[in-house]
Amino acid sequence: MDASVLLALRDPAGVPFYPIVFQVLYILTWALHAAFVLLSLGAMGLSLYGSAKGKTDKYWSILTPHLIQTGKISVSILIVLGVAPLLFTQVIYDPNWYVTNTLSGMWIFIFVYTMVVGYSMYYWYYYANRAQRTGSTLIGFVSFGILVFAGVLMHNFAVTSIMPQQWMSMYAPNGVVNTSGWTFNLDIIRLAFMVSLSIPVVGIFLQNYSRFLSTRKDFDASFISYSAKLGTNFAVIGLLISAVLFVLWMLQVKYLLHPVSLATIVGVLVLLVMAKINSNSYYTTLILVVVALLISTMRELIRFDIMSGLGYSIYDYPINLEIPSIVMFLSTFLIMGFVGVAFLLTMAWKVGKSEGVFDGSKDVMVNRLGQSTLYIMIAWMVIYFAWGIGILFNNIL
């Protein structure tokens, strides 16, 4: 696939803002999305162990439903967070994404319904576990398997998208066009590394879980200590496995000595020490976020280099600046997004810390954030309609 074809595949409308902004947003939002993919994978996987143990173990009988609930909510959040990187990648790497979608059209369709079936079954697992029905673990395993398969399919799309030199032979092997949409590619080491990260992520989550509940009087101290220790074991063992797989992946793609790769390794080592000591898991989580951003950067670097090597640089994408809609995005994101999400998370945090009903109306911060969110949203609606009516009058009168 030479540069002239790749450049012709760019959308003729150009990009509405500077490509580097989309690239940075992609890296940021992919890391966020991946964090919840890994948390859901880890929490679901570990809940299966707990579910298999049944109600006989006093610690797991508390932990399992919480892990299932964590997995359940994480899947919803990973779906919504996944929309953003999907959006930004299409703006600057549209040739890659659209070629992949058409080459793997059948898998794309299957992916959607795999997610539907897998996630619906996960709710079944949640209710079956809650009711202590026999077979709930089996339902959980099937659901987990289906969702992992969906993850493998998404991996296929990511890998196919960075194989531009093979696209033509995938579409028309030996010159015979194949429009079936069954293209499937795997990179086992890369996939194994990504999946392995779910172990340390659930480990650090358990440390946070234990720390968060430690102030609650209705949770036994021995349970708090058990979940913290379990978290430490998972974090340490998981980080060691992930580190080995990361090195193997870097050797495979020949980036081991690249500064981003070295920074990731240093980050993992720091995480290892912090997870082992477990003096404050909230700080460990901050480092985990940094490592997630580095891994996201590494992925982007690999893609960027592959495409640049073929003469496709995202920085040369023609720009048609679009100011009003980016102003809308930035103001919505920075004002409504931060205030609104702060309202919800502050409330969730305080409810989690309370043993009875939490009275948000008497909590200054929750009250203020709630009121501000409401006013911001009303203002947003007023501006939206004023803007729309103004444009419409201007264009039709």
Binding site: S4, A8, L9, D11, P12, A13, G14, P16, L25, S76, I79, V80, V83, Q90, V91, D94, Y98, T102, M106, I108, F109, V112, V116, Y119, S120, Y123, M168, A172, G175, V177, T179, N320, E322, P324, S325, F329, F333, M336, G337, G340, V341, L344, L345, M347, A348, V351, V357, F358, D359, S361, K362, N367, G370, Q371, I378, M381, G388, I391, L392, I396
Partner: protein, 445 residues
Amino acid sequence: MDIIGQFPLFYFPDYGSAWMMGLTGTIHILFSHTSVGAAMLFAFLAHKAYKEDRSDYYPYMKKYGMFLLIFSYVLGSITGPGIWNTATAASPRGISALIHNFVWVWATEWVFFIYEVIGVFVLVYFIDKIDKKTHLRLTYTFALASVGTLALIIGIISFMMWPGTEAFYATGSASDAFFGVNTFPHMFLRIGFMIMMSGVIGLVISSSMRKGNAALSDELSRKMGYVSILGGFITLFFFIWYMGTLPDNAHAVFAFSKDAIIKNRIILTLVFVAYFAIAIIKPRLINPVIASAMIGVILISGLWSGEKLRESMRKPYVAGQYIYSNQIISRDVPGKHIKSELPIIAEKGLLQVNPFVPARLKVITDENKLETGELLAKMSCSNCHSLEKTGVYRPLKDRLVGMDKDGIKAILYAIGEGGMSYMPKLKLPETEYDAIAEYFVSLHY
């Protein structure tokens, strides 16, 4: 090199690939519209519960919310990006056009989605863990966020039909593309449907509560009946207004099946008015099975046919009246420096300008004529028509039955000259017309 940005083709035998998007889209509309409608209904119920001190409404909201989590936030939230994915596989350049015009609008919608998804869990799981005043405020913001998602997507899907004015072509501005003449009627048409759907789903929940509290079940069923009638009326009112804002090509397609559509809509209206009247007058006649069955009726008779009609009425375009369904840019858009690809295709032919046509098929020979004819037919026609003799989705076998090569070519020429307003004005070199016609003849329709 004279090439255009055409992608590989994905074709599902006998059906084409567009139906995949249609299927996913129809399912998504049911869930997503219910979600926004339910958010408005929650705000209404929470308001009444708080002002009138009706604590008995909260268990209903919780039950409704739990149902909503699966119905809208499992199935709806997956099929949302699912439409995007399947549409990309079927119409990559159509989606690309939307993305490159509206990326910031979509990104803004994403912010609302995040609030909605975290919000729904907080709303449902904390309903009995937070005070009523904070809960009420949460329901208001949740409703506004949900309506915000509609406010943002509506301009994009309206643009798919057409930009509404000529301004966009000159300026290339997302604002001009977004706020067309049909954006607001379209928005309120959908708000009406959302309100109606919240009532329809609400009837499933209220009728299932009869055993526990018959009086409350009856009261809520009646309320859901009124809510649904209000929603239905808004839907009908704005549907008429919306139809008046559509372009000529949409009306040309609509005219084909106008009588059948109007008949279908009158029957549906009568059935649902009767259903909602029963909910108000005799709520006990409604049980969860009947209420669930009515969702199925809406899905199959209302949404599936409605979405198929909306998709048909866009023809021959897929987005903004500048990209044809077969992924070819059909007009200049000076505001975006976009050039029509029709002249170069007419001059060089599709095989030459498409970068994914293998070298051995670039030039038509006696040996590869049928193969190139098939490829050209897929590239030009398969987004809207299934090609095989066993084709199901707008099959060509019904349109070209018994025709010889000259007859088929005459149709292709007429399309190329713009003789049919709902078909792409795609002019090809004579050799390509000939190869397509020969391929169709070989199928013996």
